[in-house]
Structures are given as structure tokens and as C-alpha cells.
Symmetry: C2
Subunit: 412 residues, 2 copies
């Protein structure tokens, strides 16, 4: 093991989750204990805070508050969607980053996020290598979409899946309560991968799930959809519960949400989706005459820390902690991955994969798990997902409400 002495810097990137702060706790608490790590910094708004020279001194934080990060949703340091240019074309940002890294003698860099953030992390890692600046760079995975390559699953997914499954069970009861027909369309996050929508199958497993499910992995056909809904309505006295992924597209790749409205794009060029459930509900009302209701799980599915999975919280924490440990052992240019161990009882090992293998790749729900008749996903998904939602969060409460972490966030 080659000793590298210097400061550690951690940043949060991309859409927040219920457990991204648990990874922050893992990084911070481990980094504060490492003898070769001289200072521990957190970047405000991810990469943007580095470019703006706005770093928080984590050693000034109360350790109890850092512990509370495990159960505090969203990104405590602030997050960002910022696409770095290819440094061969424009190295302005990279030069500035290196300047800041040198200013604070940053030799350990941890970046927490999904596909795009791992792309950022990979680019920074490669640039620092090219410049001959010794710095250990580690990606810490995070995404409720569960679409990162090379890992069994992603921190954030289990908690969001638990929210989706539990809420779908509750909604099932609520939407079956009258003796009158009602079609309910529930829109769930997932731009290109249907993992989170598939989590509604866990509610079906308990007897309270949706009748129909539409994932982005297979083309969506509005006519076929209408026919399928009508068939269920006929069988079930007009009561139909439908789970749709926000990112469903037709056979030509056009987002169904675009059928109704114009779509804006974020800085990565991704279409910003929304209003899909309302569009489908109105369409179904017009074609069936049945009363409809559209429901969006909206931001709640990614920030409902009160119903997070303890397994997810723990694994997110360990992903952060392991990133620091492995970096201190000499590893760099990697992302932490989860490997599911063999055996009857669920357990995982924390491994690593080259950043460039992960950046911008997307893991989708296997097509053979998706039922052709759109009634859901197979039992293989249940076996896969059920262990990930286990355990109740040890959420500290005051006055019956969550006591979230309060960081000082003192700028260096």
C-alpha cells in the first residue's frame, strides 16, 4: 500500500435520494478517522462548489449530526447537474478544478451520483492522471433509477422501491373502496429503466398491486394500452389500477408524455418529463367513459426518508465508507459496486469497477422479466428486489416529526 497524505473532498451530484446523505455519512465518518487524510471537505452543490471555491470544513461538524445524515433525505451539501466538457476540446473547468485541488492539497476525491455523475467523476480522474497530479478518485453510486452498470443494485433504489410498494398497497385499498368504476393511473420515476415502476410488483406480491404495468424497456402502444385497460375494466367492475413509468416511449422512440405537451430538456439534453399520468387518464376517460384519477409519486418517491429501507441506508453508508477505505489502500479511478453473494440469506460484498465502464452506461430490467401482457414482472424480480426493501429506518423523532441533520456548513 502506497501512502498518500492529503485532504479528502466529497461532492453530491444529480437528483437526490432518501439515502444519498447516508453515503455522505459513510465517507465523512471514515475519512475523519483515516490517519493519512489530513482534512475532510464537502463541496457545495457538487462540482459547482469546487469551481466556485466553496468547500465546507467537515471536521467542524458535530459527529452526532453527521450520524443523523443517515436518515436525512436529499443532498445535505447541495447537488448539481453540470456537464463537464471533453477536456480535449475545452479544459477551462479542468484547469480550475486542478487549481482548487492544489490549493487545498486534495488527494482523495469522492463523488456520489448516477450515470452522469460517474461520467463527471471519470473525466476528472482521467484529467488528473494526465496532469500527473496524484489523487485517488472514487465514485460512490446513487440512483433511485437503479440503472448503473456493473453493480447488483444501486443505493437509493431500495428505499424508493419500498415507498412505491407500500404506497401502491395503500392506494390499492383506497381506489377499490367505492362500488363505482374508477381507473387510476400512477406515474413513477424512471427515464429509461423501469426498475422503480417494477417495484409496484412487490405490492402485487402482497395482493394489493396494479392490474397493468408499463415500463420503458418495451415500446408503448396507445391503442393496445386502451384495449388492455378496457379488458381489465370488464373483468373487474371498472376498477383498474395502472403503474406507468414516466419514460415510456412509442415504437419510434417518442416519449408518450410528448403526445400531450412540449418537452423541455435539461443541461444533459435529457427530456424533462411530466404530466404523463394526466394525459393517459384523460385519454382513458375519453375512450371508456369511466371516471379516472391520475397520481404522480413526484418527488415523494425519492425523498420519503420516513419509509426508507434500513438495508438501503446501511448499504449506502457502507458504499461511502468502503470508497474511503479502498482509496486509502491505494485504489483509484473506480466506482464501488455491490455483488450479491451466493446463498439462501441475502448479503452483499463491496467491490470496485473501473469508472469508464460505468460512465453513461445504463442497466435495464431484463426483457425476460417483463410479462408480455403488461400485467407486471415475473417472480425473478420479486426475488431480486424483496431483500432490498427490508428493515425499518431508525429515524430520530422530535414532536412526532423527523429530526433531520443540521450541518454548520462552515466554509473553509
Amino acid at each position: 500500500m502506497k501512502v498518500l497524505k492529503g485532504a479528502a473532498l466529497f461532492g453530491q451530484s444529480g437528483g437526490p435520494t432518501s439515502v444519498i446523505n447516508s453515503s455522505a455519512a459513510g465517507v465523512f465518518l471514515e475519512a475523519l478517522n483515516q490517519e493519512n487524510i489530513t482534512h475532510v471537505y464537502g463541496a457545495e452543490y457538487g462540482i459547482k462548489g469546487i469551481l466556485d471555491d466553496r468547500l465546507f470544513d467537515i471536521s467542524k461538524e458535530d459527529r452526532d449530526e453527521l450520524e443523523l445524515l443517515k436518515n436525512t433525505p436529499s443532498s445535505a451539501l447541495g447537488t448539481v447537474r453540470y456537464k463537464l466538457a471533453d477536456y480535449k476540446k475545452d479544459d477551462t473547468d479542468y484547469k480550475r478544478l486542478l487549481e482548487i485541488f492544489k490549493k487545498y492539497n486534495i488527494r482523495y476525491f469522492f463523488y456520489n451520483g448516477g450515470n452522469d455523475s460517474m461520467d463527471t467523476c471519470n473525466k476528472i480522474s482521467k484529467y488528473l492522471q494526465k496532469e500527473g497530479y496524484p489523487c485517488r478518485v472514487m465514485g460512490v453510486p446513487k440512483t433511485i433509477d437503479n440503472d448503473l452498470e456493473g453493480t447488483d443494485h444501486c443505493p437509493g433504489f431500495g428505499s424508493a422501491a419500498k415507498y412505491v410498494a407500500t404506497t401502491m398497497m395503500e392506494l390499492y385499498l383506497d381506489t377499490h373502496v367505492y362500488n363505482t368504476p374508477l381507473i387510476t393511473v400512477v406515474e413513477i420515476m424512471g427515464r429509461n429503466a423501469g426498475w422503480l415502476t417494477a417495484a409496484a410488483e412487490l405490492a402485487t406480491y402482497k395482493g394489493y398491486g396494479p392490474d397493468l404495468m408499463y415500463l420503458p424497456e418495451t415500446p408503448f402502444d396507445l391503442t393496445e394500452f386502451t384495449k388492455e385497460v378496457k379488458e381489465v375494466a370488464k373483468k373487474k367492475e371498472g376498477k383498474v389500477l395502472i403503474a406507468v413509468s414516466e419514460g415510456i416511449r412509442d415504437k419510434d422512440g417518442k416519449y408518450i408524455s410528448e403526445y400531450a405537451s412540449s418537452v423541455s430538456r435539461d443541461s444533459f439534453g435529457h427530456a424533462q418529463l411530466g404530466g404523463l399520468a394526466a394525459f393517459l387518464a384523460n385519454h382513458l376517460n375519453a375512450h371508456t367513459g369511466i371516471k379516472v384519477r391520475d397520481i404522480e409519486f413526484s418527488l415523494m418517491q425519492r425523498c420519503a426518508a420516513h419509509i426508507a429501507s434500513e438495508t438501503d441506508i446501511w448499504e449506502a453508508f457502507m458504499a461511502g465508507k468502503k470508497a474511503v477505505e479502498y482509496a486509502c489502500e491505494g485504489h483509484t479511478d473506480k466506482m464501488i459496486t455491490f455483488k450479491r453473494n451466493e446463498g439462501k440469506e441475502y448479503s452483499i460484498s463491496y467491490e470496485m469497477l473501473d469508472l469508464e465502464h460505468i460512465a453513461n452506461a445504463e442497466k435495464k430490467v431484463p426483457l425476460e422479466w417483463i410479462k408480455k401482457d403488461h400485467t407486471g414482472v415475473t417472480k425473478e424480480f420479486i426475488e431480486y428486489a424483496l431483500p432490498l426493501i427490508q428493515g425499518e429506518p431508525k429515524l430520530k423523532k422530535e414532536d412526532g416529526l423527523p429530526r433531520f441533520a443540521k450541518l454548520e456548513k462552515k466554509l473553509v
Copy 2:
């Protein structure tokens, strides 16, 4: 105490809540223990199940499943919105009800619901009196809207308020995570009373609440609203979190949601609302240029049993139990009410009020509790509402998901 021997019948009515089944558990478990109650029945879909002669034999149910009702959201027997005519004008339904009451020798009738359901309960009570049919009739209160007269608060409100407060805290963190402006409009249930929207103040009390709050108790002015949002945006770097009640109206009494769309009416003639948040968000985007997000708490706010208030669950149970006890003691034509006892520690007494005093009356948020600048409600509301959200539900879980009650529902 005059002894009246016969069967007991219980029905659920109006929109479901997280704890309406806890009242059912209170009624059923107490009625099954009363020696003068010969049979215990539950009506399918409230009053409709009586008219259709569809009663469930509750004595056939597993007692453990009846216990699980305490934590099972929505209405286990099914619910209904059905307006009884004035019996002086049309007594068709009443004759049929009396026929069924006689058929099963029903001498105890318990009806669980809000304003409209208490109207139904009152009418039935008066008709049975007129016909000289001895039957003890008791209303069991229920509504997330918290708008029933003559009671400190209503079962169902505490749990919905806890959902609103907790979710608002989580959303606060999620919507303040980027360094870019974002206006978020959250729509909360409440047709004429703003109690549930006011519950967002509990999040403010913890430091994570909305900047602006609009209740139906005061007229809504779109121009004033836009100005107030712009002022907050200016002060808070464009980040604005807004809580609006679905039922806000302009000074002429027109629903703001009607500004955007035509509104359908339910069988009580109430306007069916929706899409208000989307309308306001689009309006704000057009007038500020800031990115907007509209969020509806939709059905989740009334069925999220996983985050119910244990205080609410217990009080709902006791409301059902007390209704049976009081009826067996000889009381009739009443609704159970909650009286808050004097003293530092929160406690309530279970009292009664004549049904006709409650039917169709509405209790609103006191105007002196509503801040004129629309930034929220006063500390009087916090003192009022905070005790109602206390205690975590003892939710039985299997596989990390709720284990809801499974009733046999055997028809008599």
C-alpha cells in the same frame, strides 16, 4: 338504563381515511362483547349495502384480523357517497331501510363518516323515531378535513396532518437542493376548511415549511398571490415552497381550479376539484420565468397508514368503542365528540352531541389564526395540532411491507 336487545349494524361512509377502520375495530370488538347485542353486522358500501341487503356477519371474522383493522387504511367494508332524500318528500329508501332493520332485528346502528354521512345518520335516526321503531343510532366522526362541528377535532385528521407535515419537511429538503431557482406548489385536500393545509405549519415549526400558505377561509387573489411569490423569490434566491388548499376561491366564491378547467360535481353537488397546483405552477412560470413544479398529495394524504398518528388511531378506535358503550347505556341520536381536557398534558374526553347539530355544519380554521400576509398560521394552530400527530403506528409488517387486515366478509 333501558335494556334493548338486538343486532348491531355498522357502516362506513364518505371518503376513506387512514383510521376509519380503527373505528370499525372499536365498534366491532366492543359490540361483540356486549351481552344485549345479539349479532354484529357490517354493511357493504355503507347505506347502499343496507338498501341492497348485503350485510357481512362480523362474528365470523378472525379476532386478530379485526385487530389489524386498526392499522389498515381505507374502508374495509367499502364506502359510499349516497344522498338520502328528505323522507317527507320521498320515503322510498327509508321504507326499504326499515324493512332491512326489521328483517335482521337491528336495534343498534352506527354510521361512520363526515358531514354528509352525519346528515344521513340524522335522517335515519329521525325516521326510525317517527315510525316508532326502537333503535339506538350513533354517529362516529371521521374526516381528514377536520371540519365537523362540536368536536375538538376529528378522527382521521391527525394522521393526514402527520403525513402533510412529514412529507412537507422531506419536500423542503428536496426542493432546496439545487443552486437554481425553483417554485414548488403543493396542493393539499380541503374543500371548504383549511385544517389540513394548515398542518404544513408543523413543518415550518421544525424549520422546513412552506414560505406561503393559502387556505379556503380567506379569498384568494391571483394577482396578490403572484406578487407575494415574487417577493419570496427575490428574498430566497428564487426558491419558493407554497402550500395551497384544493378549495381556494376568489372573492366571488369561484374555485381557482375552475379558472383553468371545467369542474364536475359529485352526487352531493360538490365541485370535484383537481389540477389546481398545475394551474398555479403554470401561471407562476409565465409570470416569473422561474422553473416550477406542481405536486399533489392526492390520495396518499388520506391513506398513508404507514405514517399514521398513533394518537389518531387510538382515538378513532375509542370513538367506535364509546359509540357502542353509550348506545348500550341507552343513548341515541348522537354523534361521539372529543373534548380536550384542561391541563398541561394532552388528553380528551369522549362526549356526545345531537346529530342534528352536526349534520351539514362546517367548522373552519379561525380567521385570527390565519396570518394576513399568507405566510402561514399562528402558534395557536401548532398548540392545537401538535398533540394530534404524536405516536408511531404499531404497524404489523411481513417482508418489509404492511400486513393489512384480511376480512372474510361473509354475507348473512
